[in-house]
């Protein structure tokens, strides 16, 4: 019985112009989206290689403690599915001999056309176009049959209601699924023929399949919402308007409003303001440091009966008194400087950590609000699976730390043995002295950049995964339940 119902459903949908339209959109847009994103990936990849190569060539002989090591972050091949935050993600890590590292994003002038109109990647096609299509396919699945009178005829037979609705969902979803898969497969074929994206290799197969599974579940949720709306509205006119309203809510309003609401609930300062605070703190500590070192010099000099302010450092001659004072100063200033350096790092670290924590709190609030919409959950899951999401931000931090310690052990610590620092008054002169085995020291490059494993990405987003599963089951169950109670008159 179920089989007949499903077959009829599929037949009916296939004979409808709508399914042709869905197929057309899928075949046109999905390959286009994948192609565009993969071209962009290739460009990014080329830029990354250029940058890395130039960095290596430029710094071949640039070996010294002043050297700032740069690690370039390769673009993730999976990013062709969702660009996520990739525009905002750092593409470079720099680290220096103090072990301090930074993440940088070479912004410059972004392409304004893309900024104005947005991208057309796979994620966009799923969340905006296909979500809308899912509603357009389902909006009159029940209300249309009711208007046709066929629903009464079906229910007048000895068929349990749950079978009717089950067949309805299964049949229409199957057709949609086939169109979608045809689109994806033709997209992959296009990629295989025209680009060199390694997405078709075995190592990306499992993440790719997981992304597909989640996308299918996501579309299933929207399908069930569409059918539920069709059950709850009395005619197709009402169904389509209700579907449109719900679509606007879940696709556009809820996701975007959530950070706004979070900012109202838990307001925090902007990053630029915090940068300004950091700069102020830094200047404060540096001034303090200069003052202390000046006083130190003064006190050492006055102990020896000299006036530091009147001393001409450039024409000191060989006054043994002055030399002894400078040696003493040299011995003491290192500790003072180190103390202030540590102070600076700590103070800035506290500001940064504080701000980071605040950001996390706000981020979590807005994340939770946007999870009301399945699109929110889907976005977080997919962006993290494609290494363009929030996890990537902390992952870059992790890689930066790794790179920093790698640079320290492979480069700076080797040089440090030969490194000397001389303080002559306020002037510090530094350099490498002694016989150095230059061949054993290589300019550090970031050769292996680790992306989080798929399992850990999924694990970190277990709530979203749970929500997606919950939404699919929930809306499915509610649709079935509502249809059992449905008034067919």
């Amino acid at each position: 019985m179920l089989r007949h119902l499903i077959i009829k459903e599929i037949q009916e949908i296939i004979t409808n112009t709508r399914s042709l339209f869905v197929l057309l959109i899928c075949i046109l847009l999905i390959p286009l989206g994948l192609y565009v994103s993969s071209k962009e990936y290739e460009q990014n990849r080329a830029a990354y290689k250029d940058a890395k190569q130039m960095y290596e060539e430029r710094n071949k002989d640039n070996k010294g403690m002043e050297f700032v090591a740069e690690g370039y972050i390769p673009p993730s091949p999976l990013s062709i599915f969702s660009s996520g935050l990739s525009v905002y993600l750092p593409n470079k890590i720099t680290t220096d001999s103090r072990g301090v590292w930074h993440e940088e994003n070479d912004y410059g002038i972004n392409n304004p056309v893309a900024l104005l109109f947005g991208k057309i990647d796979f994620y966009f096609i799923i969340t905006i176009i296909l979500s809308l299509l899912a509603f357009m396919v389902t909006f009159n699945s029940i209300s249309g049959e009711k208007e046709n009178g066929t629903l009464r005829l079906i229910v007048a037979n000895a068929v349990p209601r749950w079978k009717i609705i089950f067949a309805k969902i299964a049949g229409s979803y199957t057709v949609f699924l086939i169109s979608f898969l045809v689109g994806v497969i033709s997209g992959l074929v296009l990629l295989a023929l025209t680009t060199s994206v390694p997405i078709l290799s075995v190592s990306y197969l499992i993440p790719f399949l997981v992304i597909m599974m989640i996308s299918l579940l996501f579309l299933f949720i929207l399908f069930n919402i569409g059918i539920l709306l069709s059950i709850k509205t009395r005619n197709s006119g009402a169904s389509i308007t209700a579907s449109l309203l719900v679509w606007v809510l879940i696709a556009i309003i809820i996701p975007k409003v959530s950070p706004m609401i979070a900012q109202i609930i838990y307001p925090i300062k902007t990053e630029e303001v915090v940068n300004k605070q950091k700069a102020m703190k830094r200047d404060e500590i540096r001034a303090e440091s200069d003052r202390t070192s000046g006083e130190l010099m003064k006190s050492i000099m006055s102990e020896r009966g000299m006036n530091a302010e009147k001393l001409d450092f450039f024409n000191m001659g060989d006054d043994p008194n002055v030399k002894a004072a400078l040696v003493e100063y040299d011995g003491m200033i290192v500790d003072v400087k180190r103390k202030y350096d540590e102070m600076e790092i700590n103070a800035i670290g506290i500001i940064e950590k504080d701000y980071h924590n605040q950001q996390l709190v706000q981020q979590n609030i807005s994340k939770n609000i946007s999870r009301i919409s399945p699109i929110g959950c889907y976005t977080y899951l997919i962006s993290d699976l494609t290494n363009t999401g929030l996890i990537e931000l902390s992952n870059i931090e992790y890689n930066a730390r790794q790179f920093s310690s790698f640079t320290e052990s492979e480069f700076y610590s080797k040089l440090r043995k030969y490194y000397k620092e001389y303080h002559i008054g306020f002037n510090v002169s530094k350099g490498i002295f002694g016989k150095v085995d230059w061949n054993s020291i290589h300019v550090p490059t970031l050769n292996t950049y680790n992306y989080p494993t798929m399992i850990s990405s999924l694990g970190a987003n277990w709530i979203d995964l749970l929500f997606i599963c919950f939404y699919s089951i929930f809306f499915f169950a509610v649709s079935v339940f509502q249809f059992i109670k449905y008034d067919v008159r």
Partner: protein
């Protein structure tokens, strides 16, 4: 056999749609339910099909209570509705095929469908045409074919002749007479007194949710049915049956 025992339906807004209906339609009997719009005719059919739950009494199909065993009871009943659109993108045969399978007839061949459609007088060239190209009479004939194919012992018809031309209506009723001869119990709601006079075995008149009169063929043939009907419609005091 269709039975209604004290069958009552009161809606949430306290409107009484059907008031203690008692009715029994035997095998090989055609019962016509007459009455104005909103008299409770369609409510009766909806109750028999368990589209709505009764607030009192029972509806039985072949002795099976429709509220207790809705699925079982539906095996023994076919339904023809007023102005059914069916699936416009399916051909007549595809529509039949789907509903036949729903009705439990899974082993019918193409020729079986053709034969049945010929029986109800559909033109040969219409068999494989999409239903959206059909006229109302043709659609109604397909609807009736669906009921015939199910071959259930009881048939419920909800104003099947509304909007049909006299010839099409006459053909439809002729089919009903044939079905009656096969021993089916037939309940038909209609405004069509003229047709009722021609083929009904019994006629009931409903008013404001109550069955106000039942006459057998012999009884109403003596009197003028139109006259009786109009009298009941105008009468202020209603005798209880």
């Amino acid at each position: 056999m269709l039975q209604a025992i004290d069958l009552t339906k009161r809606y949430e807004d306290q409107q009484l749609a059907l008031d203690a209906l008692n009715l029994e339609i035997k095998e090989g009997e055609i019962f016509f339910l007459l009455g104005a719009n909103g008299a409770g005719k369609t409510t009766t059919i909806n109750l028999f099909l368990n589209f709505i739950e009764p607030t009192g009494g029972r509806a039985l199909i072949n002795g099976i209570d429709v509220t207790k065993e809705p699925l079982e009871s539906k095996k023994y009943v076919s339904y023809v509705s007023e102005n059914v659109m069916l699936y416009g993108n399916f051909t007549a045969r595809q529509n039949l095929d789907f509903f036949a399978k729903l009705g439990g007839k899974t082993n019918l061949t193409r020729d079986d469908y053709y034969m049945r459609m010929r029986e109800v007088g559909l033109q040969e060239e219409a068999f494989e045409k999409k239903l959206k190209t059909f006229s109302k009479g043709m659609r109604q004939k397909v609807g009736l074919t669906i009921a015939i194919i199910k071959d259930a012992p009881n048939i419920l018809l909800d104003e099947p002749t509304a909007g049909l031309d006299p010839k099409a209506a006459a053909e439809l009723l002729q089919i009903l007479v044939n079905l009656k001869r096969q021993g089916k119990s037939i309940l038909m709601c209609t405004h069509d007194i003229f047709r009722a006079k021609n083929i009904a075995d019994r006629v009931g008149i409903m008013k404001e949710g109550r069955l106000v009169m039942v006459r057998t063929r012999e009884e109403f043939m003596e009197d003028d049915l139109e006259k009786i009907y109009m009298n009941y419609m105008q009468e202020m005091v209603i005798e209880k049956v």
